[in-house]
């Protein structure tokens, strides 16, 4: 890495003069390290002018510290706003129309518990960070997909270990991820064994639910007993979608696993990016257009499910035994078919097998089916001669009357205003982010 000392002999790279740079080599002449650094700096300047480079990787090397610019007062506000705006642009790329998504999901989380996970390139170790993010992922996943189920499998010492059964209760899944000592990484990972174990645990599931495998892979090797491409073909046949988050580097087999099954592949560049690509898999996946083999118009993934809506027993009702734990409790839910008492919904009734959900659980997934239209950035303050409103329609924050001097890139409004295409009201940046990420309902349209 190039050292960044700031003595006078060092020339600022932005300067255009070549002469003083060459002169610097004579001045310092300390050792190969410095000389190399200057060479590299010269070559990086050369990159800007599209001259020959010494290393190919320099072509795509971005110096992230350059993007953070302080303004005259020394504050980083502009840089922060720029980062927020980039997030907005990313969201604009997401489809705004309501696409068909599979709401009932079954996910098996495959964690790499091999010796490579004890590497310290992500703080404190890849393994600790993975556990922490996996717990947060599970919480967020059940929040967005209350009707889903998660199972956990570990890849350790050449075999696949079942860490957690497929369960719809987030507390159960978190419990099997909580004990760090039981999950101590050793040995080599085996992709095929783990994927086979995950596949067999999902084989009995109905077709209308989506079957997914999420692999967090930190090693660069895999030791398999057979041909992993056979496993891959079996997964494609069973319509299992495999997504991989790699912590080390891209391997062709992991890329193939994702491409052939229609999953997402990502390599984490740093801790923040790891979390981002992991959380990208929280929303339900879009349904793929499947070649219709049987009968025109029959979608094999669509099915009618029988679900029961329970009556809630308040705390004041007489205590009785629950069907799931045999605990003596007052509050609970009554299965509408067999009148058994269960503790928590959503669940499958232990007595009659009916899926019991309460209507808010179904309602939690409605926003995927009816998303809010993205707001347009206002670039022209006065359109059609009408006076612009002074305050945000949602939170009544006063808009600034002077345009921001930061470079107006695509998707960012220099006035800080964003307009809904339906109700034509202006909103501030914070409300824009809040409406699209949390509420999923435009205050102006009321829809």
């Amino acid at each position: 890495m190039a050292p960044k000392n700031r003595d006078d002999n060092f020339m600022d790279v932005d300067s255009d003069s070549d002469i003083s740079l060459l002169g610097d080599i004579d001045h310092r002449g300390k050792g190969k390290a410095k000389g190399k650094a200057t060479d590299k700096r010269k070559k990086e300047k050369g990159k800007a002018k599209a001259k020959e480079q010494a290393y190919t990787w320099e072509a795509s090397y971005t110096r992230s510290w350059d993007t953070v610019q302080e303004d005259e007062a020394g504050s980083l506000q502009g840089a922060v706003e720029d980062l927020m705006a980039r997030g907005r642009r990313r969201r604009l790329l997401a489809p705004a129309a309501a696409i068909r998504r599979t709401i009932i999901r079954h996910l098996v989380l495959l964690l790499d518990l091999s010796a490579a996970m004890m590497d310290r390139d992500m703080r404190p170790t890849r393994f600790d960070l993975m556990l922490q993010y996996a717990r947060e992922f599970v919480v967020e996943w059940f929040d967005q997909n209350p009707l889903g189920q998660i199972g956990v499998v570990g890849m350790r010492a050449g075999i696949g270990e079942r860490i957690g059964e497929m369960s719809g209760n987030p507390q159960d899944v978190l419990k099997c991820l909580s004990d760090r000592t039981r999950l101590e990484p050793t040995g080599e990972p085996s992709l095929q064994n783990a994927i086979e174990m995950a596949r067999s645990s999902m084989s009995h599931l109905p077709t209308h639910s989506s079957r997914e495998i999420l692999i967090i892979f930190g090693s660069l090797t895999t030791c398999d007993p057979g041909n992993i491409h056979d496993t891959l073909d079996a997964c494609v046949k069973n319509k299992i979608r495999i997504s991989v988050v790699a912590l080390a580097a891209e391997m062709k087999i992991t890329r193939d696993l994702c491409d052939k099954t229609g999953g997402q592949f990502g390599v984490a560049m740093n801790e923040g990016h790891f979390k981002d690509i992991l959380f990208e898999l929280v929303p339900p996946p879009a349904q793929r257009a499947v070649a219709r083999a049987g009968g025109p118009g029959t979608n094999p993934a669509a099915d009618l499910m029988m679900m029961g809506f329970p009556t809630r027993l308040p705390d004041s009702s007489p205590p009785s035994l629950c069907a799931c734990h045999s605990d003596m409790k007052s509050e609970g839910f009554l299965c509408p078919r067999c009148m058994a008492k269960v503790c928590d919904v959503p669940t499958d009734c232990d007595i009659c097998g009916l899926m019991i959900v309460s209507s808010p659980h179904l309602a939690r997934s409605y926003h995927h089916l009816f998303p809010v239209k993205p707001y347009e950035a206002v670039t022209e303050l006065r359109e059609g001669g009408s006076e612009p409103v002074a305050a945000c329609h949602a939170c009544a924050r006063i808009f600034s009357t002077s345009a921001s001097t930061a470079a107006a890139s695509e998707g960012i409004s220099p006035w800080g205003r964003y307009r809904c295409p339906d109700c034509r009201n202006d909103f501030c940046t914070e409300c824009d982010v809040f409406v699209h990420d949390v509420i999923h309902c435009c205050p102006g349209c009321g829809k």
Partner: protein, 333 residues
């Protein structure tokens, strides 16, 4: 040491409903004027409880929602004069709220058909405002940020209108975002039938839902149930509604169903198996329809003890001996 609390009040100002509420044919008529005088006393009580308490008032009118009072923006045109006998913050709130409500009522004018009240818009705006004050970011010019950190924001909805079925999804979305922001939603049903959506909102956010029996004693209900902030509610119990109906209504007949059939694509609920989903036009496989028709309970729960559990255990298509003719079979096309 108590922390500052924030209260957002949403007042349902549907002229039709208020007119009906003021009719003397009701058991305890309540007109808008009486209601407002009691509400203003409650708002003053909230401000008086603690100096750092903040208050925002929204009004839900037919077709639109407006902000009636906010501590930072000056919404009314005439500033009240300083008077030795009145406390200025109270006077500011009272005059701003009343003035704005009068203006809005005048602006409604003559309408042939009153559009439904924009309660959802008001709730969303209240949540946006709470999001703004609980996450102060680097500010743009002009707005002074509240220095005290808000720990337990609350929303109080004073509702007089019945449920609007088209607002089910936005209200559920608002409830989930209130859960995320840790906002308590309280509901006071002043007039009108019981609203199931607001009952669920109060229950899911640990708030209280009160249906007024004595409307003329409104101020007593408000101060007893809705004045205390969330930490105090652990000690001073507020009345809650326990019998919440979480059952869903079917999309075809709007009946409340115990056991529904849900389309896996669009999550619409039906009371009986259909070959095609009416919302998303998805065709369902014939085998599923046969299986579900056989498994569907067609007899009342009183007779069900005999035949019900056996057949449903294996869910096969074998016909089940039932006392009533299986009329579900005829709907299978």
């Amino acid at each position: 040491m108590e922390k500052a609390s924030h209260l957002s009040v949403i007042v349902d100002l549907s002229p039709t409903q208020w007119h009906l509420s003021a009719q003397t044919s009701n058991q305890h008529p309540l007109s808008v004027e009486t209601f407002l005088s009691q509400l203003l006393a409650f708002l003053n009580a909230h401000i008086a409880s603690k100096h750092e308490n903040s208050l925002v008032v929204f009004g839900a009118l037919p077709g639109k929602s407006v902000m009636l009072y906010s501590p930072t923006e000056l919404l009314s045109d005439d500033v009240p004069s300083l008077d030795a006998n009145s406390y200025l913050p109270f006077k500011l709130v009272d005059s701003t709220v009343v003035q704005r409500i009068m203006n809005e009522f005048d602006a409604i004018g003559e309408l042939k058909e009153e559009p439904p009240c924009a309660l959802v818009g008001a709730v969303t705006k209240a949540l946006c405002y709470i999001n703004r004050i609980t996450h102060p970011s680097s500010t743009t010019a002009g707005v002074a940020e509240d220095p005290s950190v808000i720990h337990d924001p609350r929303i109080l909805i004073l509702s007089v209108s019945p449920d609007l079925s088209s607002s089910y999804i936005p209200i559920m979305n608002a409830i989930f975002s209130a859960q995320k922001l840790k906002v308590t939603i309280d509901v006071c049903k002043v007039y009108g039938p019981d609203t199931v959506f607001l009952q669920q909102a109060a229950h899911l956010t640990n708030g209280s839902y009160i249906y007024l029996e004595r409307r003329d004693a409104l101020l007593q209900y408000l101060i007893m149930s809705f004045l205390s902030p969330t930490p105090i509610r652990k000690i001073l119990a507020v009345p809650k509604q326990d019998k919440i109906d979480f059952r869903a209504a079917c999309f075809c007949h709007k009946n409340i169903v115990d056991i529904g059939f849900v389309c896996s694509v669009c999550l619409s609920i039906f009371c009986q198996p259909l070959p095609v989903c009416s919302t998303c036009r998805t065709k369902f496989p014939i085998n599923t329809l046969k299986r579900l028709n056989a498994a569907r309970p067609t007899i009342t729960p009183a007779n069900s003890r005999i035949g019900l559990p056996l057949a449903n255990l294996n869910n096969t298509a074998s016909p089940r001996p039932t006392p009533t003719p299986p009329n579900g079979m005829s709907s299978l096309r």
